[in-house]
């Protein structure tokens, strides 16, 4: 099977996922179209050479519905011959889209493919796609369903993280993101979003609060205490009866932000890349997804990392940089604790707590972020992973070439 190489990665800056967000007037299709256009234009791609475009999108309805990947391909003016596929692996959709693109190349189905994702959370609300898991009592009973913030809070109880721990992590995320922006560490990948007149709407992540402090975060009310108390705590505690009561420690300031954004990553075989005059930046070393206990939901990153490192014959110390989506602070703290990961190798440029988590796009965004950082800091290997709804985890290991 051929090796798969990464040639480029682009992302939009992330706009606040609200009515007053900079990207609220921009359609999801437009966001997807602009990243596809950017990756074509800066690499001078002959799009007829691209076999498939795979895009993550978690709420595929309304303007994000009916295979937005194919429609974005057409809207971006790609060759008609380029296929498009929309996928959902909940929060890891963007990374899974990249893994699928890479796997198609590895399997010989494609020579060149794009993975990426899009989510306009300000325009298509999270959860508006419904889903049997939550409302149909069959799966809800079987899995002790509780909204994932409650699982995140429970991780704090089970593994010993309190409010100060998660808030401290959140402050660090903000500080790291602010430093990364001020030092231009994201410059290689971020492409400004423009309006129909070609005027820039947003060129910088809009959600950040670099001045966040332990004091300012302490004022925020726990986000999941009320719904937990009313409905869901007793359910998840049926699965974790050793916990007396859940300390609700997460809030808007230490959880991933709701934002709009899109991303695209270009994959190809070495031969195809060479034929098109492109220089490979990294090799995809391995990919994996797992399922695990669904009610706590968010402990998959540890397990998928173990699975993938085992398969690659690697150990935790062999990875120079870890990029774990900051869905909730406790998720990152738990993975570092479980695998004994040095905090200086984890999310070194901040993450979704500071910059936001456009559900379908994030996985592709953080793949690009960590690739940039490998190059900037001249390191070799990175592992990208995300916690995923219903207890899944997805991961990818890349190494520079």
């Amino acid at each position: 099977m051929p090796d798969v190489y990464i040639y480029d990665a682009v992302r939009t800056p992330r706009g606040k996922g609200r009515k007053d967000g900079a990207l609220h007037g921009t359609t999801a299709l437009d966001l997807a179209t602009q990243v596809l256009g950017a990756i074509r234009d800066r690499n001078d791609l002959d799009t007829a050479m691209i076999d498939d475009v795979v895009m993550g999108c978690v709420a595929p309805l309304g303007e994000q519905g009916s295979d937005i990947a194919r429609i974005a391909v057409l809207n971006a003016g790609y060759a008609e011959s380029v296929a498009g596929l929309q996928v959902s692996r909940f929060c890891a959709s963007g990374l899974e889209a990249c893994n699928i693109a890479a796997a198609k190349i590895k399997a010989g189905e494609a020579e060149m493919a794009i993975g990426g994702g899009v989510e306009s959370m300000s325009r298509v609300a999270m959860g508006s796609d419904g889903g049997a898991w939550y409302a149909d009592p069959h799966p809800a009973f079987r899995t002790y369903y509780a909204p994932q913030g409650i699982g995140a809070d429970l991780i704090g109880n089970l593994f010993g993280f309190d409010r100060t721990d998660v808030d401290s992590y959140a402050v660090q995320s903000q500080q790291r993101a602010a430093r990364a922006w001020s030092e231009g560490r994201f410059a290689k990948s971020v492409v400004p979003v423009k309006d129909g007149l070609g005027l820039t709407l947003l060129d910088r992540d809009e959600h950040m609060r670099p001045d966040a402090s332990l004091q300012s975060l302490a004022a925020l009310k726990p986000a999941f205490a009320d719904m937990g108390d009313k409905w869901f705590d007793p359910i998840i505690l049926q699965r974790y009866p050793e916990v007396d009561r859940i300390d609700h420690i997460h809030h808007a300031g230490n959880s991933s932000g709701i934002v709009d954004g899109a991303a695209a990553v270009l994959f190809a075989t070495r031969e195809t890349g060479e034929a098109m005059g492109l220089t490979p930046r990294a090799r995809v070393k391995g990919m994996a997804s797992i399922g695990s206990e669904p009610s706590i939901m968010l402990t998959g990153p540890e397990l998928v990392t173990r699975k993938l490192l085992d398969r690659l014959g690697m150990s935790v110390g062999d990875i120079d940089l870890y990029e774990l989506n900051e869905a909730f602070a406790s998720v990152v703290l738990r993975m570092m604790q479980a695998l004994d990961i040095d905090p200086d190798r984890m999310n070194v440029n901040g993450g979704a707590i500071a910059m936001g988590h456009p559900l379908g796009a994030t996985g592709a965004m953080i793949l690009g972020t960590v690739l940039d950082e490998l190059e900037r800091s001249d390191r070799e290997t990175a592992l990208i992973t995300l916690c995923v709804g219903a207890g899944m985890g997805t991961a990818t290991v890349i190494e520079r070439v």
């Binding site: 959860g127 508006s128 419904g130 939550y134 409302a135 149909d136 009592p137 069959h138 809800a140 009973f141 002790y144 369903y145 509780a146 089970l158 009313k230 409905w231 869901f232 007793p234 359910i235 505690l237 049926q238 699965r239 974790y240 009866p241 050793e242 916990v243 007396d244």
Partner: protein, 728 residues
């Protein structure tokens, strides 16, 4: 026609009279549905009929529901083939088909309700186009199926959903709560409440005024109130509803889950398809072992014991006017109160007038709360309190028909009180001792006539606990038993009958629950996990917190008496070490704010850190498999003890074991009681699982020989063919 008859009216409005032949109460049977099906056909076809009113021919109720036994016989088993199951579904769908035919017959149908409409009775009314109920707060309306492990299978889930929306229908269905007419009207379950006797007139008027023969869910513009599962409004409601049902069921009650399933799935399709879905879940529920066990214990055994149906027939009934209560402490005050509440005069004796007055004041305080809540009128409350006569003079007991002794749990003290009372009362008066620990046979020696001496173990608080454990001493005769049962029935409580033996039945078996919790503590399980597992099994409280509630020194005293009564046979248990440590540390439970938990003034509790020092937690985290094992230990340990009580002759009737457990210490209702649990699991599998537990946990799990024999021959306590296994 035997159950329903059709009477034509001059005005074209017919009357459909429900008057089940040969029954005192209207219950819906296959026969009745056949009758109704034929009548519906006539109403539909006959142009001279322009509408109809359904009334009851019984004074006591419109209809109390469907005939459960008929349904269990017809469908309450696991069919041998898919074909047989299809035929069961077809038969069980009959009610829905006939009611639906009524609803779509094209002519307005009104239910004129002058008495209770429960279960199938209310479901029939819901299939009418208009419901009018007499203004009588005694009338109960509701779908109580869930409380006996069933779901409404006559359209109740779907029509209530369509009338009220998910948010309001679900709790009514899950709780099985019954409503008074005014409440049902404000919820929108019924359409009008009219003066008693005016229901039919009002029904006629509604039809004459052009009442619509179309249910609102048959209109094109119908929308489900509050929204469907995937509408913007409905989605959060249905997500929350799944959690509400999961919390209530904890995986123990198939009926709860199936109600939620029927509502979720039924909300997304038209009513005809929804009714088919309901029928499927109804059959699944009826075929669950939990439903059968709950129906047996809660619907059959409990009312039978409440009516004292197995009272010895020979002795003539005793009627009580005046009873004497010795001791005005918590139990005596409670017994005095419930007796007075039942219309008896009570002489309440204590060592001082003040103490006796305090006992009377208890009745006043309970009633004051009820008056404040509007449950009872002030005059009625005053009349009850006035019936209690406090005194410190045993001579005042002269007019008593019965003496209930409730003094301190000490043989000498009880003997002295009994002798003093005996000197005052007339010959032949029945003496009852409220004891939970002392052998009745020994206490009877102080009585003037040991044949007329009996144990009456009330449970605390007496005004809320329905169970009385009647204890037969060696000499207690049949008449004494009959008369004791007459008294218990008179005060509207329910008796089980046990033979004299250490700690009788309820205390003995309950004790195994809390002790199993302490065993787990010594095993190294996290205390929080232990208490939570007890509750997940369906017990109302965890064993450790419950021990704190009961009081640790009381458990210790019982253990001391056990050692006295068993002598050398009383082996030391690991749980005794736990109790000993707590006592040494001055930790008596909730009553002094220190037990397994430390209790703060604000009502919160925290585990006592010393517990972990004495018994370090070696298993802090759970798995579903571990939780299942802990649940099984709790339930099986109690069931083994109940089985021993039966095989030792402490109890002679499994119904008494089951009803006593459910009423006495809230043994999980889903099991139908500890003996029903063994039948549910099957004697063979139960014994085998207990053998495994005996190997891993200790011989306390060994089942009695009688149960082993039952396992070998495939028999069960209730003498039925073995019902399906359930994961307990």
């Amino acid at each position: 026609m035997t159950d329903f008859t059709l009477e034509r009216g001059d005005d074209g409005i017919a009357t459909i009279r429900f008057d089940a032949a040969g029954r005192t109460m209207n219950t819906l049977t296959t026969r009745g549905w056949d009758d109704l099906a034929a009548i519906v056909e006539t109403v539909r076809e006959d142009d001279a009929i322009r509408g109809a009113i359904i009334v009851s021919g019984k004074a006591n109720a419109f209809c109390a529901g469907a005939d459960l036994d008929e349904m269990l016989d017809a469908a309450g088993y696991t069919p041998a083939s898919a074909e047989e199951q299809r035929s069961i579904v077809d038969r069980m769908g009959k009610a829905n088909r006939v009611a639906r035919a009524l609803e779509t017959c094209g002519k307005p149908i009104v239910a004129a309700i002058a008495g209770h409409a429960l279960g199938g009775g209310l479901e029939l009314a819901l299939a009418c186009h208009h419901r009018i109920v007499a203004d009588d707060p005694r009338i109960k309306l509701g779908l109580p199926e869930a409380s006996i492990g069933l779901l409404p299978g006559g359209g109740g889930t779907q029509r209530l959903l369509r009338l009220l929306g998910m948010a309001r229908a679900l709790p009514l269905l899950l709780e099985g709560r019954t409503l008074k007419p005014a409440e049902a009207l404000s919820l929108g379950i019924i359409d009008a409440v009219v003066a008693k006797g005016e229901e039919v007139v009002a029904a006629r008027a509604w039809i004459a005024a052009g009442g619509s023969p179309q249910a609102r869910w048959d209109r094109r513009d119908f929308v489900l109130p509050g929204g469907t599962p995937y509408s913007a409004d409905g989605n959060p409601v249905f997500i929350q509803s799944a959690a509400i049902a999961a919390r209530r069921s904890q995986g123990n009650y198939p009926a709860i889950g199936n109600i939620a399933h029927a509502l979720y799935e039924g909300a997304q399709v038209p009513i005809d398809r929804a009714l088919q879905i309901e029928t499927r879940y109804f059959v699944a529920t009826l075929q669950s072992p939990q439903a059968k066990a709950m129906i047996r214990t809660l619907f059959h055994s409990h009312p039978a014991l409440a009516k004292a149906e197995d009272r010895p027939v020979a002795p003539p009934p005793a009627s009580y006017r005046v009873i004497g209560v010795l001791g005005a402490g918590m139990m005596g005050a409670g017994i005095a109160f419930v007796s007075a509440e039942a219309g008896l005069d009570v002489i309440l004796i204590d060592t001082s007038r003040e103490a006796a007055e305090r006992g009377k004041a208890y009745a006043r305080s309970v009633l004051d709360r009820r008056v404040a809540k509007g449950i009872i009128a002030q005059e009625a409350a005053d009349a009850i309190v006035a019936r209690i006569r406090p005194s410190d003079d045993y001579g005042d007991l002269a007019p008593c028909d019965l003496v209930v002794e409730t003094v301190f749990e000490d043989r000498e003290v009880k003997g002295e009180a009994t002798r003093r009372a005996a000197a005052a009362v007339r010959e032949g008066v029945l003496f009852a001792s409220n004891t939970s620990t002392l052998p009745i046979t020994g206490l009877a020696e102080a009585a003037p006539d040991p044949h007329r001496y009996i144990g009456m173990h009330f449970h605390s608080p007496v005004d809320r606990m329905e169970l009385v454990e009647i204890v037969l001493g060696k000499e207690t005769d049949e008449t004494a038993l009959a008369h004791a049962l007459d008294y218990v029935k008179a005060i509207r409580k329910t008796a089980i009958v046990v033979r004299d033996s250490p700690f009788f039945y309820t205390s003995r078996t309950f004790d195994t629950y809390i002790r199993e919790g302490m065993e787990m503590l010594v095993d190294g399980y996290a205390p929080t996990l232990i208490d939570a597992a007890g509750k997940l099994a369906g017990m109302p409280r965890g064993p450790l917190e419950l021990t704190d509630d009961v009081a640790i020194d009381l458990v210790d005293r019982i253990a001391g008496q056990r050692r006295l009564s068993l002598g050398a046979a009383a082996e030391r248990r690991r749980s005794d070490d736990v109790i000993d440590l707590l006592i040494r540390e001055g930790r008596y439970g909730r009553k002094n704010g220190r037990g397994f938990y430390d209790y703060a003034a604000d009502g919160t509790k925290r585990l006592w850190p010393g517990l972990a020092e004495a018994w370090p937690v070696t298993t802090p985290h759970s798995t579903p498999e571990l939780v299942d094992t802990l649940k099984r230990r709790f339930l099986y340990r109690q069931a083994v003890e109940a089985a021993r009580c039966l095989s030792e002759g402490v109890l002679t009737d499994p119904r008494h074991a089951d009803v006593g457990a459910v009423l006495g210490w809230s043994f999980p209702r889903w099991t139908g009681g500890p003996i029903s649990l063994i039948d549910q699991v099957g004697a063979a599998r139960f014994s085998a699982e207990c053998d495994v537990l005996a190997d891993t946990c200790g011989p306390r799990f060994l089942v009695p020989d009688a149960l082993r024999a039952m396992a070998a021959t495939g028999r069960s306590y209730y003498g039925e063919a073995r019902i399906d296994q359930v994961a307990a």
